[in-house]
């Protein structure tokens, strides 16, 4: 296809109609089966066929005609300065999106379109909500071409087919991070979710009428496990233990399997590449997603881990980007990686990871003391009347232990929370069991706020909140003088770059 053809209004791929029909049919199958089942209960199959089959055929037929007419009336046009989509059968809608406002172009393949080799192209404008421009469905090649065209137009370059081809080829060579099946499965093991176990547990309780014995009756379990010979039952406590262990093992197996399946579906063949302008991420087993994150739009990095993951040395790297305020844009650059794998990715985005010789600041000790005391006072106020008046005096230990846990958390936060103001970047590590490090660039903040509650005012600490496009950057419990020093330093950095410069600057000369 030549560029000339692209400038005229175009329709989406003719197979779109087939994909929509197939999707519709799969959606209709369930109601038809359910409806058919209830009606068939009455018996007469011949009656059913004469009355209902034509009705169903007519309804489906009408839907097909409607889908076809809608398809004929939807056109898109790649113009000099914007992309325009006109649609609508009775009421016409025309939407124009200028290239300057397109933050990200993502290409998504759901299961059914994938069978037809089609993709859905989404132009994210950062408008928030569901106001993004979507084109469903185009061929894979057309999707790629469209994305490259938009990218090139935004940067004011002339596009020729050849240039695009070269860029795609070069992109293949620059793999930053990939997850082979083995890694994905390991990741799945760590994604073991207690929440799922709880849901299964609850569901079993809800559905226990389906099981013909009382789930919570240990004796019953004993009998079942024992079998006809009553061998295990004779062993008494051992049988009880075996019963409980079997139940726990079953729940754990459910949790682990769910974790692995969910992760495999989402992360299969994870591939992060360096392209000319940004990072390109492809992943997914059934639904394959393809997202480009332009590097000069990266606002901050997030380095995450979890309590267990940290013990095994696994970390995740996320990218806060301008377009990520639309909820669908999930910008994980490396969800499950070793530190040495994350380093080159961070370097590519132009951000520096925290290094050993940096000067770190602690959070205000006063804030931790206050937090711990408030925790203890509050839970103590609950515990004392419980201890005095409850017949079960030891139940006062529950609020007390929560209070002590809260106080321990405050101590840990004081010990391990860190923040640092570098020449170009700001670092903040916050968290108790699973600390999260956020790396922000000094010039990329939008506003600076210092907040103080009554106690904080009295004791001289504050929360520093920095406005960040697509995310938040917050340092809590900072001594107030330090917060003011940081504020003037950051404001001085911000003053050196205007917002529009920050957006349109090419990655090569980006001053991150």
């Amino acid at each position: 296809m030549t560029l000339e053809a692209a400038i005229r209004p175009q329709r989406t791929h003719p197979k779109t109609f087939a994909v929509k029909a197939a999707t519709m049919l799969t959606q209709l199958v369930v109601p038809i089966v359910v409806g058919g089942y209830t009606i068939l209960d009455d018996g007469d199959l011949a009656d059913l066929l004469t009355y209902f089959l034509p009705l169903i055929v007519v309804v489906i037929g009408l839907q097909f005609v409607l889908a076809y007419l809608q398809w004929t009336r939807l056109t898109y046009e790649v113009r000099e300065s914007d992309i325009r989509v006109e649609s609508g059968l009775l009421s016409r809608a025309a939407r124009s999106v200028p290239y300057e406002r397109i933050q990200d172009v993502s290409v998504e393949q759901k299961l059914i379109p994938r069978l037809f080799g089609l993709v859905e192209v989404k132009f994210e404008t950062g408008a928030g909500g569901g106001d993004d421009l979507k084109l469903a469905y185009l061929t894979e090649a057309e999707g790629d071409r469209l994305r490259d065209t938009v990218k090139a137009r935004r940067e004011g370059r002339e596009v020729s087919e050849a240039a695009v081809e070269v860029e795609v080829e070069r992109a293949e060579a620059n793999v930053l991070f990939a997850m082979p099946p083995r890694r994905v499965l390991t990741f799945g093991l760590f994604e073991f979710s207690l929440a799922v176990v709880a849901v299964v547990f609850g569901a079993v309780q809800q559905l226990d009428f389906l099981i013909d014995f009382d789930l919570w009756d240990i004796d019953e379990w004993q009998q079942r496990l024992a079998g006809p010979e009553q061998y295990l039952a004779g062993l008494g406590p051992l049988a009880q233990f075996v019963g409980i262990a079997a139940g726990v093992a079953a729940l754990l197996a459910v949790g682990v399997t769910t974790g692995i399946v969910r992760t495999a579906l989402r992360e299969w063949n994870f591939l992060l590449e360096r392209t000319e302008t940004g990072l390109r991420r492809r992943r997914g087993l059934v639904t394959r997603t393809d997202v480009v994150m332009p590097i000069h739009r990266v606002q901050a990095l997030r380095l995450k881990t979890s309590f267990v993951r940290r013990l095994f040395g696994w970390y995740g790297l996320g990218v806060v980007s301008l377009a990520s305020d639309s909820a669908s844009a999930n910008h994980e650059a490396a969800p499950f990686a070793r530190m040495q794998e994350i380093e080159p990715i961070a370097a590519t985005t132009g951000f520096a990871l925290p290094s050993g010789e940096m000067c770190w600041n602690r959070r205000s000790a006063k804030a931790s003391v206050d937090g711990a005391l408030i925790n203890l006072a509050f839970t103590g106020a609950i515990a004392i009347p419980v201890w005095l008046f409850s017949p079960l005096w030891w139940s006062a230990l529950v609020p007390l232990s929560i209070g002590v846990l809260g106080a321990v958390r405050e101590y840990y936060l004081y010990r391990f929370d860190r923040h640092s103001l570098g020449d170009r970047f700001i670092y903040s590590r916050h968290g108790w069991l699973a600390p999260k490090t956020t790396i922000g660039s000094r010039v990329r903040f939008q506003s600076v706020e210092i907040k103080q509650g009554p106690l904080a005012k009295l004791r001289g600490y504050a929360v520093l909140k920095l406005g960040l496009a697509g995310g938040t950057f917050e340092v809590e419990a900072m001594p107030v003088e330090q917060a003011q020093r940081w504020r003037s330093a950051i404001l001085d950095s911000i003053a050196t770059t205007d917002f529009s410069q920050m957006l349109e600057r090419k990655p090569s000369d980006a001053q991150v």
Binding site: F445, Q452, G467, Q484, A495, Q501
Partner: protein, 166 residues
């Protein structure tokens, strides 16, 4: 004046003094609180009628609270707020118990609103709102400006933005 002393003690580190809001803002707050007080008094009267024998058990606390609301509260709120436009930055300070001190550099302002509610129009006041691209502090509002001041501030910020983008 006491108001300024409160502001200074907070930002001892910051050398720029804050501009207080238009004095009419205190009057407008008083009118706002008077409406609230009227509603409260009406409710209290209803309660007094419902409770047999006019004890004043509801009336007295509500009257005391209303007086505090009318006499003390407007001045306190007025005194707690201030702004500054120095060094191409909009700084908004507010809050009596929970203080907040927000700075938005002109270079990060996306667009600017000047709004006037019915009460504000009565007192010739306006609210200036600047919008940023950040998720936190996506819009920062500064109420209680004289109408002309708000318009002038908008022009100043807009001029600064245009200068930067050229």
């Amino acid at each position: 004046m006491k108001a300024r002393a409160v502001l200074r003690s907070y930002d001892g580190m910051e050398d720029q003094p804050l501009t207080p809001l238009d004095p009419a803002y205190a009057s407008m707050l008083r009118l706002q609180f008077a409406i609230v007080a009227l509603v409260l008094l009406a409710g209290a009267t209803g309660a007094e009628i419902a409770i047999p024998g006019y004890t004043g058990a509801v009336w007295i606390p509500v009257i005391v609270f209303s007086l505090w609301l009318l006499i003390r509260m407007p001045m306190r709120r007025y005194a707690a707020r201030g702004y500054s436009l120095a060094e191409e930055r909009l700084r908004v300070v507010r809050g009596i118990l929970f203080r907040s001190d927000t700075v938005v550099p002109f270079g990060r302002v996306q667009h600017i609103d000047v709004n006037q509610g019915p009460l504000e129009r009565l007192f010739h006041l306006a609210t200036l709102t600047v919008h940023t691209a950040g998720s936190h502090n996506a819009s920062v509002s500064l109420p209680g400006l004289a109408q002309e001041d708000a318009a002038a501030m908008r022009e100043e910020i807009r001029a600064a933005i245009r200068r930067d983008t050229q």
